[in-house]
Amino acid sequence: MTTTVTPPQDHDTSSGVRLDLYRTMVLVRTYEMAILREYHADKGPGFDIGKGLVPGEMHLSAGQEPVAAGVCAHLTEDDAVTATHRPHHFAIAHGIDLEAMTAEIFGRETGLGRGRGGHMHLFDPKTHFSCSGIIAEGYPPALGQAFAFSRRGTDRIAVAVTGEGAANQGAFHESLNLAALWHLPVVFVVEDNQWGISVPRSASTAVPSNADRAAAYGIPGVRVEDNDVDAVFEAAGELVARARRGEGPSLLEVSTLRLLGHFEGDAQGYRTDLDEVNEHDPIPRYEARLREAGLLDDALRDEVAREAEERVEAAIAFAKDSPLPDPAEATRYVFPEEGSR
């Protein structure tokens, strides 16, 4: 039945896995810092959200890498992930094509959605990845993907992600209930970064831990403290394995950190923790731990950084070199076309 546990802090995760988790986090961070640079490059004079090569809202996940890295390390391309308006870390950790994703963010014809979707609406049928700009509304479709997987007798699973703010939405609770009732192979993930735009968790959520809410639906609830990627990896491993064995859904909440504003351009005047937020950056902290464990030195660190940089710059170059969609085709893809698949 219901278990609410905090995994121990002494990890026995293998060293290879730990370096992979590190690589994933570095790739995500490198990617987002490059997007940050490109996003702000042409917004001036002043800041006009509609201007530049990357227009519109931009929600970056910097600080939340441990959640995506720890969870997705247990998934294959055949598993589904439904993410949120803040999707890049899960998209990358789940193995989305970096070039096609970047081209989408740049609104190019070579993008995942041929420039129609944008950064909050990334759909990759190859990795069964999707996301939504409407809060908590990625939970219900995950049920259907899990339903399809189990009906077909596979051990594939779906992972559905929300923030702690979204866990107060009706769709969250309806989905937990239905998944529990029908034993669907879903791992529900809640990223508790403490903020729903400007509203602190204390002003939005009546219970201290969303893992407690799992009890209401008779499913396991686990909360990982401290944005700890090893702990996420271990906790997620059990929950994913459980779902694969056909033992039903579970809920994993991770206490994580939003290093940047809710969206780019957010002055964060409401925020009380800004002075010290960078001290809690999970990547330097993990680096230090890996060094202590003898798994990382300067040379390896540089190599990981360089690899990430090369992949990211190649993706950005691909996006920039790609053609823009033809405005005459702005209303295509409302309905399937003959032979379009």
Binding site: I49, G133, G196, I197
Partner: protein, 341 residues
Amino acid sequence: MTTTAAPTTRRLNTAKAMAEAIAQEMRANPEVFYLGEDVGPYGGIFGSTTGLFEEFGPSRIIDTPISETAFIGLGIGAAVEGMRPIVELMFADFMGVCLDQIYNHMAKIHFESGGNVTVPMVLTTAVGGGYSDGCQHSQTLWGTFAHLPGMKVVVPSNPADAKGLMTSAIRDDAPVVYMFHKGVMGLPWMAKNRRSIDVVPEGEHVVPIGKAAVAREGGDVTVVTLSLSVHHTLDVAEQLEGEGVSVEVIDLRSLVPLDRETVLASVAKTGRLVVVDEDYHSFGLSGEILASVVEADPGLLRAAPRRVTTPDAPIPYAHGLEQAVLPLHDRITAAIREVLA
């Protein structure tokens, strides 16, 4: 009837004008309160509550969890008890998660009770695209609200009307949906439109709901429009004036009730009609305006009317694609030329 305390030359942006009406009504009536996501210290994502939290504090300017069904329903219940809630749905696009409370409850209770129960509530929400925010954050959707009976629907285009319509909406005993286009708010982080900052009466300012404005007089063609499209149409009208074309611009200001008289009087004068509407083309406001004219007197029109709308397709993300579907200057100019040809 527009009452103005004293002549003024003070200029405000639309967001501040809207907040000023709310502040004045809150000072006058302790039953008025405002709630929604990020309306407190943040001041509303689109500036709708700028400065209100500082004056009225957290008991009357209330941040909510992301639970639209619950907090819009709460507004309804409080209104039923005689309070005067103003509830913000951050983007009109989010109505899907809470539409039942809006159209089956807020809008029907008065009718179901045979007129014995009133719901004096204001539902504010942001609409509109133009800054590449993708198809879940760029819709106008006022036609949907207007189609569902039982709620008044107002759509200011300029700062003075934003204040005057808000005052009326708060005082109205019916539920009023107050839809503001992000592009008319005069926000620092969006493309500036010179008409989004203008003179606003300082004292009590009431603009009656259901009365269209003649935003510009002209004799050759009537353009019926609303919200941000009024700004675009006025730009076009100014330009065409140089060519000797005289455009009359009707700013509807309100969809429910709809001021058909002002539209008919103008079309009777010009004999030519263009409707500019940022909502989807079919089954909406633009068709309603044409139908109203033809039903009243098919002989009024000397040329086939034209509609400049958003086509029946989701609004694309990529800048060039989005510009192609929105009703902007070129398409408005072309439609005017067509009805004059």
